[in-house]
């Protein structure tokens, strides 16, 4: 452990109310859910400067649930922010209404990480490589942000403001994720560095003609140009493939190259049922 653990402080609220009060009253508190991102940084000694006070959310059972309602004829899944990937994998509701979320969850780390990693944490950490985000983004997802002042709802589409940044205020917690599942065939493919325990190089999730991609831009993105083309009745893959270059902005990093990410994203697009006639 490269970080001086002795200097760390861990606040352990018993209720959501208490957690929100702590966040409100004290500055510099970092919400800690499953810890699967933060503990990596702690171990490597690469936490942002001044990060040494944590708000341990793990005990807040009220944030641990998956509920299903119907809005019109469309199912809406409401996830408590502490829903783990294991919860997603073993939920019959998820498997029925949003099976690609279970599929994405199965490809996150290994079972130990899946037991600790949470949907709220995956969003809060705001990595463009987060495996669940393209799925949530392909659906109609709203986040419930809570503070002592109350709740506000933000569409996931408006939540991220850039690479690892978001509209969440420091006194707010992500408490729920509301996912309205659109009709249409669902597909998901993660291309990682190996068959398991991999960070993604490209992730693509699609529900009908709604297409979201991860690891190819500073945040998770929708393939808006491609979607517009499809909505207007377009069906030529060659055109869609070209349009995708406007929608994503991959980079070279230690895991892969921009050229590879673009090409594979295009290839994955070509695998969608729309183009497989």
């Amino acid at each position: 452990m490269k970080s001086p653990v002795r200097q760390f402080e861990l606040l352990r609220p018993r209720t959501l109310r208490e957690a929100l009060t702590m966040l409100h009253n004290e500055s510099g508190l970092v919400p800690l859910a499953g810890g699967t991102d933060l503990l990596v940084l702690m171990n490597a000694g690469t936490l942002p400067r001044g990060t040494h006070r944590f708000l341990d959310l793990w005990g807040l059972d009220e944030l641990r649930s998956i509920r299903r309602t119907l809005i019109g004829r469309r199912p809406q899944l409401v996830f408590g922010a502490l829903t783990t990937f294991t919860d997603c994998i073993s939920s019959r509701t998820v498997l029925r209404d949003l099976p690609i979320l279970a599929q994405a969850a199965r490809e996150v780390g290994g079972p130990q990480i899946q037991n600790r990693g949470t949907l709220g944490g995956n969003i809060g950490n705001a990595s463009p490589a987060a495996d669940s985000l393209p799925v949530l983004r392909a659906a109609d997802t709203e986040l419930v942000l809570s503070s002592v002042a109350g709740e506000r709802r933000i569409p996931l589409a408006d939540y991220f403001t850039g690479y690892r940044t978001s509209v969440r205020r420091s006194d707010e917690l992500i408490t729920a994720i509301e996912v309205l599942v659109p009709p249409g065939k669902q597909s998901f493919r993660k291309v990682g560095t190996r068959a398991a325990q991999a960070i993604s190089k490209v992730v693509l999730a699609a529900i009908g003609k709604r297409i979201a991609l991860g690891s190819v831009a500073p945040t998770v993105v929708r393939a808006t140009s491609v979607e517009r083309y499809l909505a207007a009745g377009g069906s030529e893959f060659e055109t869609a493939r070209e349009l995708l270059t406007d929608d994503i902005h991959p980079i070279d990093d230690i895991r892969s190259t921009a050229a590879y990410r673009l090409r594979v994203a295009q290839n994955l697009l070509g695998q969608l049922p729309t183009f497989q006639r």
């Binding site: 291309v191 190996r194 068959a195 398991a196 230690i254 895991r255 590879y260 290839n267």
Partner: protein, 718 residues
């Protein structure tokens, strides 16, 4: 009762699976403090100053730089050439080079303190890769016949260049030691995770100016080495010893994974060039080979790595006219070092890809081309060694072809591209050339009232040394395996059996132990049963307590070697092997996956078949990682992906089905016919996999790792 050839219980297995075994980080000594290394942040430059923040509370810290080396000691890591310091003096030649050591009773305070130390440099231009390297650290040439004459006989000349990347050994347990200063102030004991206690002892003696009675080195339970704990522990032990002497307290230094990855040795990156004269029917007549290795900033063990790489560069193929020129080039990167295979995997990767290229250019089947040129008994190698007996190149290929039954393609179209590739290889057991004679290793046996105890400096690092040695001695003495125990490798107790490297621990050291056992037998006189053995031992012990039988390496009479001309018997014996790999390439993601790997290897005699197969499976998988996944990404001379999320080794899901078959073609001078096993499984898989990718996709890759990015590029270039 015979146990050789049987899968007896592993000698140290119970301690390991029950958690009783203590690794270095499990140990503690009264008053122990923790050490840490301050390393260079430039690839090359002069050190202008090392400044400590005066505002920081330095109470309780021990700080040590090169000036702390005692008079009589030398700031040189004892290896082949005296060029590498334990601690930089006024210049640094690579990133992460040790400059300053710091210790404190509270390990958490070390990180704080390091942030308050500033080193100023005048950076100098650095050479960061093989492509730009020009300084030659070592050069050698192996010649046979007349190359010009050879090319004159050729119908065709085929050329090719091949590249292999660095690779991390990735033992589970990182490097770590504890140095305990003696009460007299003139001695030191170092405990640690290591392969070669006597290497560490020699390094400490030179560093501290002490004699062998003043330096004691004890190997603790070691979680893997793969060569990565051959030479590096000498440096770490030196650092801990300097701190311990300065503080007058035991000092523990255990690297975390990041430090271990960025600062310690890797497999040498290599560039192999071939120019081969070949006749229409596939007969090789001339081989001109250049082997260039990236040695990093200091010489370390590179000359011997080069030696093995060059001798194996022809692969197991006969040719009348050969010239191999080998070079180690210097770069301003952390020194590369020993890694399972020691240069042979790199150079045989080159020849095995090249053989497929030749086959293609001639329109001959790659297997047929190999069959035409593989060594047989009576053939003469590039160093002029006549191969007699225990030559199985043809047999391993035949058996691999039989074993690797063609699989039916799946009926359902899955779009994957499939191919199969072959590689044949050989691997010399033991030290190269005159190395074993120079080492003059010793090992022995002591009698105790209840059993016999092995005194051997060879270390158990997960590969089964203790079990296998005990089996050899038990059968030689005709006593139960359970009666043989092994003393912990401790320079105060066991003789110097040479390093635990080079596939020598069974064939060479096992043989020495066997001879010690025969000496013991002679002393006891004839006995018919184990009980009689015990009665006689007790009688002998009553007369001569603490009785030890130490034997020394005895050169098999027919071996000769000339270091000046690089001619002679390069190795006493060779293991022979063949890999066949099935590969699937996904044209959507360009990912290649090895789905099945057959490994047929002649190891002379499997003392413990299960352990031998385990070694072959593990080594094969390590080679799969090297071939497809493991990429050391260097930025400005430093490993940029020094964590296991980004340095990608294969998981179980990436592991092919591995079919292992052992061939036992005995070597008369090995114990029960045994030859080396540890390294050879790494020699072939990478080439077999790339040859399979060629068949699957039609693209020829000449470099590993064959990452999806590289495969995409190659497929685009078609």
């Amino acid at each position: 009762m015979k146990c050789v050839g049987k899968n007896v219980l592993r000698a140290e297995g119970e301690d390991k699976v029950t958690g009783r075994a203590k690794y270095i980080d499990d140990l503690s000594f009264p008053g122990m403090i923790y050490g840490h290394t301050v390393r260079s942040s430039v690839a090359r430059g002069r050190i202008l100053s090392v400044a400590r923040d005066p505002a920081f509370d330095w109470g309780g810290f021990t700080l040590v730089d090169h000036r702390a080396i005692p008079p009589g000691g030398r700031n040189i890591v004892a290896m082949i050439v005296e060029d590498q310091p334990f601690l930089a003096v006024d210049e640094v030649r690579h990133r992460e080079e040790p400059i300053l050591l710091i210790a404190h009773a509270d390990p958490e305070r070390l990180a704080e303190a390091v942030a308050h130390i500033e080193v100023h440099y005048a950076p100098e231009p650095a050479v960061l890769d093989l492509e730009h390297a020009t300084t030659v650290l070592k050069e050698l040439t192996i010649s046979k016949g007349d190359l010009e004459q050879g090319f004159a006989q050729a119908d065709r000349v085929v050329e090719g260049s091949y590249f292999t990347g660095a690779q991390e050994q990735l033992y589970i347990e990182p490097n770590g030691v504890i140095a305990v200063p003696g009460v007299d102030g003139k001695s030191i004991t170092v405990y640690g995770s290591m392969q070669c206690p006597y290497y560490v002892q020699r390094a400490l003696r030179l560093l501290l100016g002490l004699d062998e009675t003043q330096v004691r080195v004890v190997q603790t339970t070691t979680g893997g080495g793969f060569g990565g704990k051959e030479e590096y522990p000498s440096i770490l032990a030196g650092h801990a010893a300097l701190l311990a002497c300065a503080a007058g307290r035991p000092v523990k230094m255990v690297y975390d994974r990041l430090e271990d990855l960025v600062a310690t040795t890797k497999r040498h990156p290599a560039r192999i060039r071939h120019r081969t004269g070949v006749q229409r029917d596939g007969t090789l007549v001339a081989m001109e080979i250049e082997v260039d290795l990236d040695g990093g900033a200091y010489v370390t063990l590179s000359p011997v790595v080069l030696s093995r790489a060059s001798i194996h560069a022809t692969g197991p193929y006969r040719a009348p006219h050969v010239r191999v020129r080998g070079r180690v080039l210097q770069t301003n990167t952390p020194p590369t070092g020993a890694f399972r295979g020691f240069g042979a995997p790199q150079s045989q990767f080159g020849i095995e890809l090249h053989m497929d290229r030749i086959a293609e250019e001639l329109g001959i089947d790659p297997v047929a081309l190999r069959q035409k040129n593989l060594y047989a008994s009576g053939d003469v190698t590039a160093t002029g060694q006549r191969l007699d007996g225990s030559v199985s190149a043809h047999e391993v290929l035949e058996r691999a072809l039989q074993r690797h039954v063609k699989k039916k393609r799946p009926k359902k179209k899955d779009g994957l591209l499939r191919g199969t590739g072959v590689a044949t290889f050989f691997h010399g057991s033991g030290f190269t050339g005159g190395g074993e004679v120079k080492l003059a290793s010793r090992a022995g046996i002591e009698l105790t009232p209840r059993n016999v105890r092995l005194l051997v400096g060879s270390t158990e690092i997960g590969q089964g040394t203790r079990t296998m040695h005990a089996q050899i001695v038990a059968d030689t003495l005709a006593i139960p395996y359970e009666w043989v125990e092994t003393a912990d490798p401790d320079t105060a107790r066991v003789p110097d059996s040479g390093p635990t490297v080079a596939s020598r621990t069974c064939m060479v050291v096992g043989r020495i132990l066997q001879r010690a056992a025969l000496d013991l037998q002679q002393a006891l006189g004839p006995y018919r049963t184990p009980d009689e053995f015990r009665r006689r031992s007790r009688k002998l012990l009553a007369k001569r307590p603490a009785l030890q039988f130490i034997a020394q390496y005895d050169r098999p009479g027919d071996i000769r070697w000339d270091d000046a001309t690089y001619q002679g018997d390069a190795y006493g014996a060779y293991a022979w092997g063949c890999n066949i790999a099935d590969v699937e390439v996904d044209p959507i993601t360009y990912q290649a996956r090895c789905t099945r790997l057959t490994a047929v290897i002649d190891i002379g005699k499997a003392i413990h078949p299960l352990l031998a197969c385990g070694q072959i499976e593990g080594g094969s998988l390590q080679a799969v990682g090297w071939a497809l996944y493991e990429e050391v990404v260097m930025r400005d001379g430093r490993m940029a992906n020094g964590q296991l999320t980004n340095y990608i080794i294969p998981t179980t899901l990436d592991t092919p089905e591995i079919l292992v078959e052992l061939v036992e073609n005995p070597y008369p001078h090995g114990p029960f016919g045994a030859k080396g096993v540890g390294e050879c499984p790494v020699d072939g898989p990478a080439a077999a996999i790339l040859n399979a990718i060629r068949q699957a996709t039609g693209v020829r890759l000449n470099a590993i790792p064959a990452t999806p990015e590289k495969i995409m590029q190659a497929m685009d270039a078609r």
